[in-house]
Symmetry: C2
Subunit: 218 residues, 2 copies
């Protein structure tokens, strides 16, 4: 077991070196960067589609889509109106690494205000890999149940912001969004909180307003 | 990149050796073994609670609960009436490995008919680690959306059985369970299919009947 941990440590250290280089590059470009992580199917891409529609014309948005396979998420956010989109297919790997983002960034236009990285749908592994972002955002679907913060503490601690999505289902699930938030705050008391239904539109103004506030002045 | 892949291959090969040993041990014990995998919050533990309640007194069920942290799933299935329960906390690791199951098995009574392993909630990494099971079962929550089979093909191909859970939400999600099944079959045409609502009780008779059919005669 100790051998395995040592190997992982090496990979993580290598990732941190590239992430630090990326962070410098983002600063040079005055580019705000957000890394969105969640379980599969929590609604990351739907949230991004609605985000892009709301912010189009006001902020120049670039999106990196991370998926194991398919390019449908890239096509979806491109059709929604994102200014620049790259699909990364990891071909089986369970998380994005800083090196993948660095490579994708080479074709990004200088005019971008914000870069949103949609990570692989996985509540475990992506938490360990710094991508040089300004903010890690966790998207939780209300349907996952409120035991998840304590069961996946690494992810909840790695992120500064928690968006609870699919709040339109609260009545049918008989769930209290406030209780979910309280559970999350016991694991990470510093979380900024948003409640959204990307499908119905709840909370998108607050979420987009906050994203807009991350943009770095010229 | 190639170095990383080589390392992973080594870990997988080591796992395969232990899995083969485990498979021999399961045969010797006449123990049927199922490895249940899913995204976080798809409803694995709720399904197991209901399964245990239905089969108690007819079949002797052992359960290994895999979680990164907490022992609440073990307590839940124990209270439901499982005959033997072990909680494995991986402390951050994203999947169970055969060695963890082999260690847990040491305290299992010889009287068990079936062993159900609830893997870490993760639609990527557990697919790569054989636990010596007779059958890999994927639990998909309808809420995840039907693009998941093509986006997580490794998991859908690694399993022989697909249980689509939370079908009670189909009307409110405006989703067609049959379409989800067709999507899954395009990725793995050999999948055995079940539809359940662990919460409302749909499909539990079929599911439990099938589990019962796996039991090896004395």
């Amino acid at each position: 077991m100790s051998r395995t941990i040592k190997i992982e440590k090496k990979i993580l250290e290598k990732n941190d070196v590239i992430a630090a280089r990326l962070r410098d590059e983002f600063t040079k470009r005055k580019l705000a960067v957000v890394n969105i992580m969640s379980s599969p199917g929590a609604g990351k891409t739907t949230l991004l589609e609605e985000t892009v529609k709301k912010l189009a014309g006001k902020i120049s948005i670039g999106i990196i889509e991370g998926d194991i396979a398919t390019d449908r998420d890239a096509r979806r956010v491109e059709e929604a109106g994102a200014d620049w989109v790259v699909q990364i297919n990891t071909g089986g790997r369970c998380h994005l690494e800083a090196g993948m983002v660095e490579q994708a960034l080479q074709t990004a236009p200088a005019s971008l205000d914000i870069l949103i990285v949609e990570n692989i749908g996985n509540l475990v592994c992506p938490a360990g890999f710094d991508l040089g972002e300004d903010e890690g955002v966790m998207l939780a679907s209300l349907t996952e149940g409120m035991d998840k913060p304590k069961k996946y503490p690494g992810m909840y601690r790695a992120c500064g912001t928690l968006v609870i999505n699919k709040v339109d289902l609260a009545p049918v699930l008989e769930m209290d969004v406030g209780e979910f938030e309280r559970e999350a705050l016991t694991v990470n008391p510093k979380l900024k909180l948003f409640r959204t239904s990307a499908k119905r539109g709840d909370g998108l103004d607050e979420w987009c307003g906050w994203l807009g506030s991350l943009v770095k002045s010229e």
